[in-house]
């Protein structure tokens, strides 16, 4: 059973197979937990997000049903983990504001510069290569889940241009990442 594909495991979970749920959990625990932790920076909340995500998988109601024709199961798991993380952030901080300490240009202290230089997270290194505005857009959109209107207000750019700027920032980030090595999650 451990060699079953993700899709086979998911089918078994839909048939209320607890062993299949555990196997899927074992396969994705580290990736999903790391992602939830990266989004929320809080161990307890990240664990609650894991509970939320696997509850949705087990119950399989409404929008929490995986559809093969919309991509891989792993992408879907990451999507629902991100959504759950954003929901948790909204509950904790309903009106998230841009924190200038997250900006590369604002990190002027020696310790901060060293920290940045030694940052061994590929995603963070790639974000640091973006322009200040793009960094801000990525953090507000991707990590905090803000609306286009709030991003427009926070970045002081016209609402009509936000979509294009988000698209450009995400594509640029992907370009930088394509030069980086992927983290091995041992899947």
């Amino acid at each position: 059973m451990s060699k079953l594909s993700d899709n086979d495991l998911y089918e078994r979970i839909r048939e209320r197979d607890r062993e299949a749920l555990e196997l899927l959990y074992d396969r994705y625990e580290r990736l999903l937990y790391s992602f939830a932790y990266r989004m929320t920076k809080d161990q307890q909340i990240a664990e609650e997000i894991m509970q939320d995500v696997f509850m949705k998988i087990w119950q399989g109601k409404g929008s929490a049903v995986y559809q093969k024709d919309k991509g891989s199961l792993s992408s879907w798991l990451l999507t629902i983990t991100r959504n759950a993380s954003i929901d948790a952030l909204r509950r904790r901080k309903p009106e998230v504001e841009w924190d200038p300490r997250d900006s590369k240009e604002e990190t002027t202290g020696v310790e901060e510069q060293v920290e940045l230089k030694e940052n061994n997270e590929e995603l963070e290194r790639a974000i640091a290569l973006l322009s200040e505005e793009q960094q801000k857009i990525v953090r507000l959109f991707y990590f905090q889940g803000l609306s286009q209107r709030k991003i427009a207000e926070s970045c002081d750019i016209p609402l009509g241009t936000v979509k294009g700027r988000i698209r450009l920032a995400l594509k640029k980030l992907k370009e930088h990442l394509s030069r980086e090595r992927r983290v091995d999650y041992g899947e």
Binding site: E47, I86, D87, Q148, R182, V183
Partner: protein
């Protein structure tokens, strides 16, 4: 909110549209291949990012906690229900009458509500709960049983919970499985008590506690499942082993 549908893309991705807007946007996507491709492209790009984050060691014991939260506790207690005695005190009879009156009202309201709600989601939910209850029965008896009845619990004004009761006969005995969700936390020695209700009789049929998510279940071996009962009700009792209900009815399911 922005006005044009092509500009809803990133608010859609972040789950910021209303349910109606979301449906409108998805319907529109089906008519616009370019927009659909753009959505898929952005989702694919975003799906790459988590592969480049710093791995974290999950907290010790997280798997057990998550699994317990998701699947719920295994049955904590098995209580044998004795065959109902046909002579009950006037007090027990009065309590049974109250239980039945409450059940009648709520079953009617529950039916009305169910018809008006989204049927597909409800059916999926019912199926999941029934399968959970049956799975628990399989675990406890390792036998295939004949299902006599399986009913969904209706919430009362005292609870927002839901759940399923299944009565069945195995080769050796009758059994009743109760699985519930969404019940409020218990305090001190409180338990949720299951009752078989029929005529002027109210018979205790096992008790259980819930986990931190309000999920609880109990499997009760009892030949009484073959008796002619009107309903199963669950009350919150101040302590276990009450012979007659003291607390309020939180869930109820008709059997006839």
């Amino acid at each position: 909110m922005v006005n044009n549908k092509q500009d809803w893309l990133f608010d859609y991705i972040n789950g910021l549209l209303t349910k109606e807007e979301e449906q409108e946007f998805e319907a529109w996507l089906e008519t616009d291949d370019e927009a659909k491709q753009e959505l898929e492209e952005m989702q694919a790009i975003m799906g790459e990012f988590p592969q480049h984050i710093e791995p974290q060691d999950p907290p010790a014991g997280m798997k057990n906690r998550v699994m317990e939260h998701v699947i719920g506790k295994e049955p904590e207690e098995k209580v044998t229900v004795t065959k109902p005695k046909r002579k009950w005190s006037a007090v027990a009879g009065a309590l049974a009458a109250v239980l039945l009156a409450s059940i009648g009202t709520n079953v009617y309201l529950g039916t009305q509500w169910q018809q008006a709600s989204e049927e597909r989601e409800e059916l999926a939910s019912d199926l999941g709960e029934m399968q959970t209850a049956l799975s628990e029965l399989e675990n406890s008896s390792q036998e295939t049983g004949e299902v006599i009845a399986s009913q969904e619990f209706a919430a009362t004004e005292n609870s927002q919970g839901s759940g399923t009761v299944t009565l069945l006969n195995t080769e050796q005995q009758g059994e009743m499985a109760v699985h519930v969700e969404g019940l409020e936390d218990l305090e001190n020695s409180e338990v949720y008590q299951v009752w078989m209700v029929g005529g002027d009789q109210t018979v205790p049929a096992g008790s259980f506690t819930t986990n931190e998510s309000g999920i609880g279940s109990v499997v009760v071996p009892s030949d009484a499942v073959n008796e002619d009962w009107d309903a199963v009700a669950i009350t919150k009792e101040p302590q276990p082993n009450n012979e007659a209900p003291q607390g309020e009815v939180v869930l109820e399911a008709p059997l006839s």
